[in-house]
């Protein structure tokens, strides 16, 4: 009875997601006479604040900057909810690419991103992901049609770990979300910790959306490690930090949130989150450009400031359109070639480059969460600790496990 019900509900949900239209016009340079950008994202689940509707808004802002047209053809943004399910995401991607969607952007959730990347490769269409964390996207599962934009677990993990190790945090214990992303975050960070002379004492895998983390934290506590690495995201990170402060764990051990978004910090409140490091590719209050863009974004999103994922979706859409203009066509291979030649600069990205493995590298930043007294407003969350140059923030090409890279 319940299974039947659930089936009916799932069917309903599927039919609700947005569907792309059909364009008939033919134009020589632009296939189908329209450039269609698909934002495939978690629209209603736990990551919907990180990407979600904000990603759609961000992509639309990039389109508006182009005046809604490229090479004389109109640009359209369509969106759909992948519900954090790889099969739903892959099916939607297939449907879109079989229709006239040229590119998929956004896409939080590593499991979904890996599935969509495979479809994009099969259909020879572009996929620029700025929402997922897993480094598999540009290593084992790299593809000539996928670009991993903005950040990955190597960049956030190592950037966060570096100062903590330098301050003497040599022994680590990980709380790891039990799926592709968490495992990737843990393995990237532990390799880095070990290379820096540190030691990993153990780890515990927790289910996604485990609401109570006190049990896992006690295990971390009894390991005696100096640092507890949180290899999780979103609500899981929030609940971990909340429980750690409740149980007084932060008095003796240091907490390292290996991926934390400004929306998470905003939701935690500064008194629980103060002092945490946050490694990010974008923070709204970084410079005049980012502030200006973020305020425009906030005006459309009810005052919310953009996350680095949303900034990445804006930037990747903008750069994609620039590449079409430069290539004089929307042919995926030609556009990809152009993208990999360009140096990327806009309101959110400084000196970005796309490597042959599909990894977009750019300046990365280490921030620290302000104390309540330092903060001047609801979104005044971070102070800059250091800027990390691209070649140090991201996994070096020499370590790449991507088959496209010939060594």
């Amino acid at each position: 009875m319940k299974a039947k019900l659930m089936g009916a509900v799932a069917g309903l949900m599927l039919s609700v997601v947005a569907t792309g239209g059909f364009a008939q016009a033919k134009s020589g340079k632009i296939s189908g006479g329209v450039v269609k950008i698909g934002v495939l994202d978690d629209m209603s689940g736990l990551y919907s604040d990180i990407g979600g509707q904000g990603d759609v808004t961000a992509a639309q802002m990039a389109v508006d900057e182009f005046g809604g047209k490229v090479l004389g053809a109109p640009i359209q943004v369509v969106s759909a909810d992948h519900q954090n399910k790889p099969d739903v995401g892959a099916n939607k991607a297939r449907e879109w690419f079989d229709g006239d969607v040229d590119i998929i952007v956004g896409t939080v959730n590593s499991g979904v991103a890996l599935a969509v990347s495979k479809v994009a490769n099969e259909k020879h269409r572009l996929f620029i992901d700025s929402g997922a964390g897993s480094t598999r996207l540009t290593n084992e599962d790299c593809s000539p049609y996928t670009i991993h934009y903005e950040y990955d677990t190597y960049a956030t993990g190592t950037t966060t770990a570096k100062p903590i190790i330098a301050q003497g945090g040599k022994t680590w214990f990980f709380l790891t979300a039990d799926y592709a992303f968490g495992k990737s975050l843990q393995s990237d960070t532990s390799k880095f910790v070990e290379a820096a002379g540190g030691k990993v004492l153990g780890s515990v895998l927790h289910p996604l959306n485990a609401s109570d983390f006190s049990s896992f934290l006690l295990q971390a506590q009894s390991s005696g490690a100096q640092v507890i690495g949180l290899a999780n995201a979103g609500g899981d990170t929030i609940n971990s930090v909340k429980a750690a402060s409740e149980f007084g764990i932060t008095k003796k051990q240091k907490l390292a949130a290996l991926l934390i978004f400004d929306t998470d910090v905003h939701s935690l409140g500064l008194s629980a989150a103060q002092g945490l490091y946050a490694a990010t590719g974008f923070y709204w209050d970084h410079d005049d450009d980012s502030r200006k863009w973020s305020r425009a974004f906030g005006a459309k999103m009810g005052g919310k400031m953009p996350t680095m994922v949303q900034a990445g979706t804006y930037s990747s859409t903008l750069q994609y359109l620039k590449a079409i203009q430069a290539a004089g066509t929307d042919d995926p291979d030609a556009v990809m070639k152009k993208l990999k030649e360009m140096t990327l600069n806009d309101a959110t990205v400084k000196n970005g480059k796309i490597r042959p493995d599909g990894r977009m590298v750019h300046e990365f930043y280490l921030y620290q969460v302000k104390t309540p007294s330092e903060s001047k407003g609801p979104w005044d969350l971070y102070k800059l600790v250091t800027t990390v140059p691209p070649d140090q923030a991201f996994q070096p090409l020499s370590q790449s496990r991507c088959p496209l890279i010939k060594k």
């Binding site: 019900l5 604040d49 927790h206 109570d212 049990s215 006690l218 295990q219 909340k242 409740e246 939701s267």
Partner: protein, 295 residues
């Protein structure tokens, strides 16, 4: 130090205490579900949403009017209960004569709508809520430091569960309630207003969910999805305990909290599924649940 299967016994005790704390939430939520199913024959899938409303309400009144957690303890269950009355009078009462499946569908839909509205208003990343100042700090139990707040949660839940059980099983009002569900026309003939009693039962059931929400607000992420994360486990608790059994839901809730706590130590990946494995086993051996009676 003594060890059991490679786990120090002190750590094990700590995990058991935490399991008990989580079990309290399960018990309080499944208790409400059990009352509603027992009296109304409605499978209340919106229970998680009511729990979430309780927590978000707690945040909202603090954020807007600076109303403390103490007042929320009283106000949130009231507000959620009143909302429950509206739902029961407007929607549920039309479904008593038809298959319980329709009640399940309606409440499930209702939960999706409520969560969707809150998601639209507040987003998914949650709202900040701290621990009331009186309860900051921890108790030293010898084998672990238990935050005072969690100890309070255990005490409060046990008291509420016992009171509910007592009212329904041991008082005049409870006797009317039980009789009213067995044979409404007969009880009505004695001059007792059965529809009002049923409405109040629903209000109390969801009010308990609201109260659980208030208790959860300081320790968990207050977000529109917090209910849906928990509700499936709570349903498993009700099924294992026996649909409609009040004592069953309390005992099973606490017991499963403990088992889940132990699973987190020995094989944490399974901590979300262990409850369902137990459910399968129980249903194979006792289809009516541990405390349920076959009808």
């Amino acid at each position: 130090m003594t060890e059991i299967f490679g786990v120090p016994i002190q750590a094990l005790f700590g995990q058991l205490v935490l399991g008990l704390v989580n079990g309290c939430f399960y018990a309080m939520l499944s208790l409400g579900l059990a009352i509603i199913f027992g009296m109304l024959n409605i499978i209340n899938f919106a229970h998680g949403a009511f729990y979430m409303i309780g927590a978000v309400f707690t945040w909202f009144v603090l954020d807007t009017w600076n109303i403390s957690w103490w007042w929320s303890l009283l106000l949130a269950p009231l507000a959620v209960g009143i909302f429950g009355i509206v739902v029961e009078r407007l929607l549920l009462k039309r479904l008593y004569k038809v298959d319980p499946l329709y009640g399940l569908l309606l409440t499930f839909g209702l939960a999706l709508v409520i969560e969707g509205l809150f998601l639209h208003k507040h987003g998914s990343s949650g709202l900040p809520y701290g621990i009331p100042e009186v309860f900051q700090g921890a108790l030293n139990l010898g084998f672990m430091f238990l935050p005072k707040y969690r100890a309070i949660v255990v005490g409060a839940t046990l008291a509420v569960c016992f009171a509910t059980w007592f009212v329904i099983e041991r008082t005049q009002l409870g006797a009317y309630l039980r009789a009213g569900t067995e044979n409404p026309p007969l009880v009505q003939a004695f001059g007792i207003n059965v529809p009002v009693m049923i409405t109040l039962t629903y209000a109390i059931g969801v009010g308990l969910a609201g109260l659980a929400g208030v208790l959860a607000a300081p320790t968990l992420q207050v977000s529109p999805l917090m209910g849906s994360n928990l509700i499936i486990v709570v349903f498993a608790v009700v099924v294992i305990g026996g649909m409609g059994s009040i004592l069953g839901s309390i005992v099973t809730g606490l017991g499963l909290g403990l088992i889940e706590g132990l699973t987190k130590v020995f094989y944490s990946q399974a901590s979300n599924t262990v409850v369902f494995m137990i459910m399968v086993l129980v249903l194979l051996v006792r289809p009516a649940g541990l405390f349920g009676r076959e009808k």
